[in-house]
């Protein structure tokens, strides 16, 4: 499973992209977040407040109850701020 971090999540985790192999019990984004928090204090910090975080699976926006599998690309990022003012 490929994990991507953007904006301040990249700074806090110290990682832009990592390949992980969570146990089979990790079935949803919510499960995955809890599991990823164990990887480092930076991960725990970055993922501590789920209200500040948005998630995409295979480049589509999803909710915390979305399923995840070994071949998925999962991205964590803050709410987007593109466009003009």
């Amino acid at each position: 499973m490929k994990i991507l971090y953007f904006a301040w999540l990249k700074a806090k985790t110290g990682t832009a992209e990592e390949e992980v192999s969570p146990p089979a019990a990790i079935a949803t984004i919510a499960d995955l977040v809890e599991w990823l928090k164990g990887r480092s204090p930076g991960h725990a910090d970055a993922l501590s407040d789920l209200r500040l975080i948005r998630v995409a699976v295979n480049q589509d926006h999803v909710g915390l109850d979305h399923p995840v599998g070994p071949n998925d690309e999962v991205a964590f990022f803050p709410p987007v701020t593109g466009g003009g003012r």
Binding site: H61, F77, P78, G82, G83
Partner: protein, 156 residues
């Protein structure tokens, strides 16, 4: 058409070429977003912002913008759609984004163009990092942008 690029673009040339020769078009609505002067955007006492960097998620950006274009085409009778969004370092006065919609009718052109920019701002994976003398700061999403996007969801 979707373009995601670091390079600047020429809005005049884009408008001149947009829907050119398509005589089914009665109205074109275009929105150009620029980096506004940072003066006044900074709280009292904070160091002035000098520039910003737009980070994005390559691949997802194109996918989301294409989905937004498809949504607009499904909702309004559009002849042409154009979305150009830049990433990378930008300074005051720089162009950030251009969206345009061409339709037989002006109301469709206006609504589709407005929808495109509103949805882009809440769906396309871009993040603004403002650079100031004291350090860098990630711009937080605005609730007003969420409300602007929701307005279109309610209409369906």
């Amino acid at each position: 058409m979707i373009r995601v690029q670091a390079e600047d673009f020429d809005p005049g040339a884009e408008l001149a070429g947009f829907a050119a020769g398509n005589h089914k078009v009665g109205g074109i609505c275009m929105f150009l977003g620029l980096v506004r002067d940072f003066l006044g955007a900074v709280p009292d006492g904070a160091p002035p912002v000098t520039a910003m960097t737009l980070e994005h998620y390559p691949g997802m950006t194109e996918k989301q913008l294409a989905a937004i274009e498809a949504q607009a085409r499904a909702r309004w009778p559009l002849e042409e759609v154009l979305i150009i969004h830049r990433f990378g370092r930008l300074e005051a006065g720089d162009r950030i984004v251009l969206v345009a919609a061409a339709s037989a009718h002006r109301e469709a052109a206006f609504e589709a163009c407005h929808f495109l920019i509103d949805w882009l701002k809440t769906k396309a994976p871009f993040w603004k990092l403002e650079h100031a003398e004291g350090g860098d700061l990630w711009v937080e999403a605005k609730e007003s942008d969420d409300l602007a996007a929701e307005r279109w969801a309610k209409k369906t």
